[in-house]
C-alpha cells in the first residue's frame, strides 16, 4: 500500500513536469490573414499563414494536435503524427498555410483564415486547449503578431516575419551591453566578487552555527552520560578529575617518549590528480 502511494506521489510529481516539456509550450505567434503580396507557400501562392512558436528549450512535436477556426469543432484539422517537419526545434517556429487546400501537404490546413476571426490549437485529446486567438479587422499584407516571441501584447508588426523572430530591431548581446556600460570591468568584478563572497559567506554562517550547535549537543550528551554514570554509583567529581588527570599525564608521557618516532606507510589508494592528499607531503615534483 505504502509502495503504491509512493509510486502515485512520484507520478504526480512527474506529470506536471511532463506537461511543462510538451505541447503546452506551443503558442500562436503571428498570423497574416490577407496575404496579397508577401510570403509565398511551396506552391507559389500567397496564402494566409499562421506561425506557431515553441517557447520551450527542447524539441516539441506538434503532430497529433488539432488546429481549428471553429469553436464548435475542435478537431477540425488533425495535424498528422510522425512527420519530421512537425517536430519543432527549441525556441523555433512552424508555419501553416490556411487557404483550405489540404491536398497541398500537411502544413496546408482544411480551412481558410479569412472565414472567421478565431483560431485555436488543441492537444491530442481534442479537448485540452493549448492556445487560442481572436482578432479584429486585418490589413492586407500586414501581419498580426506578438511584439516579442511568445509574449504579450499582440500588435500589427512592422515587418512580416514568418519562421523568424518577431522583434526585428537590432539587439546587442548581454556581454556587449555589459561591455558598453562597464568598459573597464570594475563593475563586473565588484558584482561578481560580491556574489561569490555572499554565497560562501552564507555557507560560512550556516556551518559556523551548525558547528556550534553540534558542539553544544555533544557536550550535553557527555554531561548526560556523566550524570547517568554518577547515578549508577560512580565516584564524585574530584575523584573523576584525579583519574582523568592521571590518564592525561600518562598519555602525555607516552607522547613525549614517542615524539621522534615516525611511521611511514605507503597508502595504497588509487592516485588521482584531482584529490591526492595521499601524495600530499611526499609527492612534491622534482626540480
Amino acid at each position: 500500500m505504502k509502495k503504491a502511494g509512493f509510486i502515485i506521489l512520484l507520478w504526480c510529481i512527474y506529470l506536471p513536469g511532463l506537461q511543462a516539456q510538451s505541447t503546452t509550450d506551443l503558442k500562436f505567434n503571428e498570423i497574416l490573414v490577407h496575404n496579397d503580396s508577401g510570403y509565398i507557400d511551396d506552391f507559389g501562392q500567397h496564402s494566409p499563414w499562421i506561425e506557431i512558436f515553441n517557447t520551450a528549450f527542447n524539441y516539441v512535436d506538434i503532430g497529433g494536435c488539432y488546429l481549428t477556426n471553429d469553436p464548435s469543432d475542435p478537431k477540425k484539422y488533425p495535424i498528422p503524427k510522425g512527420d519530421p517537419i512537425t517536430r519543432i526545434a527549441p525556441r523555433n517556429y512552424i508555419v501553416f498555410w490556411a487557404a483550405n487546400q489540404p491536398t497541398h501537404g500537411i502544413r496546408h490546413l482544411n480551412f481558410d483564415l479569412r472565414e472567421s476571426r478565431f483560431l485555436a490549437l488543441y492537444d491530442a485529446d481534442g479537448r485540452t486547449l493549448i492556445d487560442s486567438l481572436s482578432w479584429g479587422p486585418q490589413q492586407a499584407g500586414i501581419a498580426y503578431g506578438r511584439a516579442e516571441d511568445g509574449s504579450l501584447p499582440w500588435i500589427f508588426l512592422p515587418k512580416n516575419t514568418p519562421n523568424a523572430n518577431n522583434n526585428t530591431t537590432p539587439r546587442t548581446s548581454a556581454a556587449q551591453q555589459f561591455q558598453q556600460i562597464d568598459p573597464v570591468g570594475i563593475g563586473m568584478a565588484a558584482i561578481a566578487m560580491s556574489v561569490v563572497f555572499l554565497v560562501l559567506l552564507m555557507l560560512f554562517i550556516i556551518f559556523k552555527n551548525f558547528s556550534n550547535a553540534f558542539i553544544f549537543m555533544e557536550k550535553r550528551k557527555e554531561q548526560k552520560k556523566l550524570r547517568s554514570l554518577r547515578g549508577a554509583g560512580f565516584p564524585p567529581d574530584e575523584n573523576l578529575v584525579a583519574v582523568g588527570l592521571a590518564i592525561h599525564l600518562y598519555a602525555k608521557e607516552i607522547q613525549e617518549h614517542e615524539d621522534f618516532i615516525l611511521t611511514i606507510k605507503k597508502v595504497s589508494r588509487t592516485y588521482s590528480p584531482w584529490s591526492s592528499k595521499i601524495y600530499g607531503i611526499g609527492g612534491w615534483p622534482r626540480h
Binding site: 561591455q179 563586473m188 566578487m193 561569490v196 550556516i206 559556523k208 551548525f210 600530499g280 615534483p285
Partner: protein, 384 residues
C-alpha cells in the same frame, strides 16, 4: 606498360600529397614541440602527469599535418576526434569530472573551520583581475570572461565556461589553465614569500576538530541548495560536485562513489585531456590571441594567489592571537586541488618543520572549487 607506370606515378604523387610531410607548416612543428615539452614535464618533472600526458599526446595527435577533407582532424565533422571533442564543446566532460572530484573530496577541513571558506572567495579575485586586463587588451566581454576563469585554477570549470562563452578560444584557455595548474608549485611560492613576513609564516593554527558524519552528509545538501539557489547557472558543476560528495559521505553508496572517483573520472580525464590537446591544431590555435591568453593566465594565477594571501592578512587584523590564520594557506584559495594546498604545506615546512599546514590549507582549497564554480556561474549569467 607506360599506362601502368603513369597510373602508379599518379597515385604515388597523390599519396605523397596525403602525407604529413607535404602538409606540415612551421606552426605544426612549434605545436609538436610544445606537446613534447608537456610530456617531458609530466614524465621527467612529474608535473601533473595524469593531465599533462593526455594533453601533451593530444597536442601531438592534433598537430600531425594531414590533407583536409578526409575526416581526420578534430575540427572536421564526422571524424572520430570530432565526436570525442563533442563532450568538450557541449560541456559534458567537466561536470562528470566534478562528480568524481566531489566523490574524492573530503570537506572536513572546511566544515571544522568554516571561516576558511572566505579565503576561497577572496582568491577568485584572479578571475576578475584577468577579466579586467583582458578587456583592456581588446578582448570582448565574453572572451574576457572565459579567459578570466583561468584564474580560478580549475581546468574543468575553464573548459565548461569557455565552451559557453568563447568556444573559439577554448583550446588555448584549457591548455593555459592546465599548464598553470601544473606550474602552481613554481608560480605561487615567490608570491607567498613576497607578501608575508617571517613572523606570519610561523603562525601555528589550532588543529581542526573532528567532524561528525551528520555534518559531512548535510554539507553537500546545504551547499547545493545554497549555492545553486543564488547562482543556478553553476548547477551543472556544483550539482555534480555536491552529488559526488553525497555519494561519498552517505556511506551507503560506496559502489557509486568508487565508480565516480575511479573509473569514471579516469575515463573522462583521458577523453578531456586528449581532445583538449588535439584541439590545439596549429592552423587554428597559433594566433596572437592564444599568446595573449597564455600571458593573462599567468597574471590571473598571480592575482589569485595575492588575493588569497592578502585576504588572510586582512582578517588576521581582526583576530586574537592564538586564533590567527597562517597567510601561507591563502594561496590555497585557488581551486587547484590539492596542488595549491601542497604548496602551503611545503612552503610552511621550510620555515617551521613542525608546522603542518596541509589540513588547514585543504579548507580554502575545496572552498576554491566551490568559489570558482560560483564565479563561473555568475559570469555565465551576466555574459551569455
Amino acid at each position: 606498360m607506360k599506362g601502368i607506370f603513369d597510373f602508379l606515378s599518379h597515385h604515388l604523387q597523390q599519396f605523397l600529397t596525403y602525407t604529413a610531410f607535404a602538409n606540415f607548416t612551421i606552426g605544426h612543428v612549434i605545436m609538436i614541440l610544445v606537446g613534447l615539452f608537456f610530456i617531458y614535464l609530466a614524465i621527467r618533472k612529474e608535473y601533473e602527469p595524469l593531465l599533462l600526458i593526455p594533453i601533451g599526446f593530444g597536442i601531438l595527435i592534433g598537430n600531425v599535418p594531414f590533407y583536409p577533407g578526409l575526416k581526420i582532424g578534430i575540427y572536421e565533422t564526422g571524424s572520430v576526434m570530432n565526436y570525442l571533442h563533442f563532450g568538450v564543446l557541449q560541456g559534458v566532460y567537466p561536470p562528470l569530472i566534478f562528480l568524481g572530484i566531489g566523490a574524492m573530496t573530503d570537506f572536513s577541513a572546511l566544515i571544522s573551520n568554516p571561516r576558511l571558506v572566505l579565503i576561497g572567495a577572496a582568491a577568485q579575485l584572479g578571475i576578475f583581475g584577468a577579466y579586467m586586463i583582458a578587456l583592456q587588451l581588446g578582448f570582448n566581454a565574453s572572451e574576457a570572461g572565459a579567459i578570466g576563469i583561468i584564474g580560478g585554477a580549475d581546468g574543468p570549470t575553464a573548459i565548461f565556461l569557455s565552451s559557453k562563452l568563447a568556444p573559439d578560444l577554448m583550446g588555448a584557455i584549457a591548455i593555459s589553465a592546465y599548464s598553470y595548474m601544473a606550474l602552481v608549485p613554481v608560480i605561487q611560492p615567490p608570491v607567498m614569500r613576497l607578501l608575508t613576513s617571517r613572523r606570519e609564516r610561523l603562525i601555528r593554527m589550532k588543529a581542526p576538530r573532528q567532524v561528525s558524519k551528520t555534518e559531512k552528509v548535510l554539507f553537500p545538501i546545504v551547499g547545493l541548495l545554497l549555492t545553486t539557489f543564488v547562482v543556478p547557472s553553476g548547477m551543472p558543476l556544483l550539482g555534480m560536485l555536491f552529488f559526488g560528495n553525497l555519494l561519498k559521505e552517505s556511506g551507503v553508496t560506496k559502489r557509486l562513489a568508487d565508480t565516480a572517483k575511479g573509473p569514471l573520472i579516469d575515463i573522462v580525464t583521458i577523453l578531456i585531456g586528449l581532445t583538449v590537446g588535439a584541439s590545439t591544431q596549429a592552423t587554428t590555435f597559433l594566433t596572437a590571441k592564444s599568446i595573449g591568453i597564455f600571458a593573462l593566465g599567468a597574471v590571473s594565477f598571480v592575482i589569485a594567489t595575492m588575493g588569497g594571501v592578502l585576504f588572510v592578512k586582512l582578517i588576521n587584523l581582526f583576530l586574537r592571537d592564538g586564533n590567527k590564520i597562517n597567510p601561507l594557506i591563502g594561496n590555497a584559495g585557488v581551486s587547484a586541488v590539492p596542488d595549491s594546498a601542497r604548496v602551503s604545506q611545503v612552503v610552511g615546512l621550510e620555515y617551521d618543520p613542525k608546522n603542518h599546514l596541509l589540513m588547514h590549507a585543504m579548507g580554502p582549497n575545496v572552498a576554491g572549487v566551490i568559489g570558482s564554480a560560483v564565479a563561473a556561474g555568475v559570469l555565465l549569467s551576466f555574459l551569455s
